[in-house]
Symmetry: C2
């Protein structure tokens, strides 16, 4: 999943992963203008290791973004195994909020990357959409979710979270909005 083109030595791979994890966390928390030295420190590796793996800041931002998406889409199978589909969808949405938070912190840098011709955006968008589809389908089969909606619509509706005003109780507002959306997809009322 996180295996880069040329396979690395085991310890090197571990360090690389630690870097991506640290970057994801710090970028989400404080935006992508953070000092790269701090990312290395937070990952518990030297700066040199960071620069060897990610020669430019953008390389690191992109890696963090990809990992974020991979993690969120990878969670679908596990959630479906442990919960009835409607609950799985709800849990998944909660995660999605976190993803959006992360992406928000990164959005400026991301736009720059996208404009520079790299097509990660199409990639990841597709992945997210598939994740949605899988959850919806499972719910429909189980009879707990409506069958007359399509995944892309739901996905797009979820995107509206991005349009909320930027500050203050944003996170709560977003969570409520997504919760509402799931309820709309359920048969019957949610417990109060």
């Amino acid at each position: 999943m996180t295996t880069p083109p040329k396979s690395l030595r085991a310890d090197a791979q571990r360090n690389r992963d630690k870097l991506v994890a640290a970057a994801s966390e710090l970028f989400a928390r404080s935006g992508t203008d953070i000092a790269l030295d701090a990312v290395a420190a937070h990952a518990g590796v030297g700066v040199a290791t960071l620069y060897r793996n990610f020669p430019t800041r953008d390389d690191l931002v992109e890696a963090a973004y990809r990992s974020e998406v991979a993690q969120i889409t990878g969670a679908v199978a596990g959630l479906l195994a442990e919960h009835p589909p409607d609950v799985a969808l709800e849990r998944w949405m909660e995660r999605y909020v976190d993803y959006v938070v992360a992406k928000r912190g990164m959005s400026d840098a991301l736009r720059a990357i996208i404009e520079s011709g790299n097509d990660i955006y199409a990639d990841t968008r597709g992945q997210l959409q598939e994740a949605f589809a899988a959850l919806l389908e499972a719910g429909v089969e189980a009879g707990t979710l409506r069958s007359d909606v399509n995944a892309e619509d739901v996905f797009r509706a979820t995107g509206s979270v991005f349009l909320l005003p930027q500050q203050d109780g944003w996170r709560e507002q977003a969570a409520r909005l997504l919760g509402l959306l799931v309820d709309g997809l359920r048969y019957g009322r949610p417990a109060p």
Copy 2:
């Protein structure tokens, strides 16, 4: 024109103007990520003076942008006085290319400013549109330019220059494109 809200001492105003001029030039040539110290040096003033006038980089970028637009729109009257309107339009277009070049170097920073709620964009867009309108009208009255087009359309068409691929012979391509546009507005063919 460039008089700030609170009037400055004569020498201070001169320095401020020098700074804006230097910034316009350097931003256009090398983008807005340039070292601010270099701008001060190029303007022949100390860094402190720069920071006193423009506390943040954005303040300076905005000032440079405004001055660029003011200069370009301010040129209309002079051109119309010295040339028949169709020629004036052509000359003006040439200047416009330079303006776009400048703006291109600044475009990233500008978008950031625009997104941060500042409404210079609307302002300057309006000013540019007026400039176009004035030139067109003069040509129509003189009978050398077509009367069945409206200024906003021409303005918008001109914006297409922004969409050209970013590199290489861009400047020449842009110039040709604009030249073509003017020819289309003229009655009769241009000399070969």
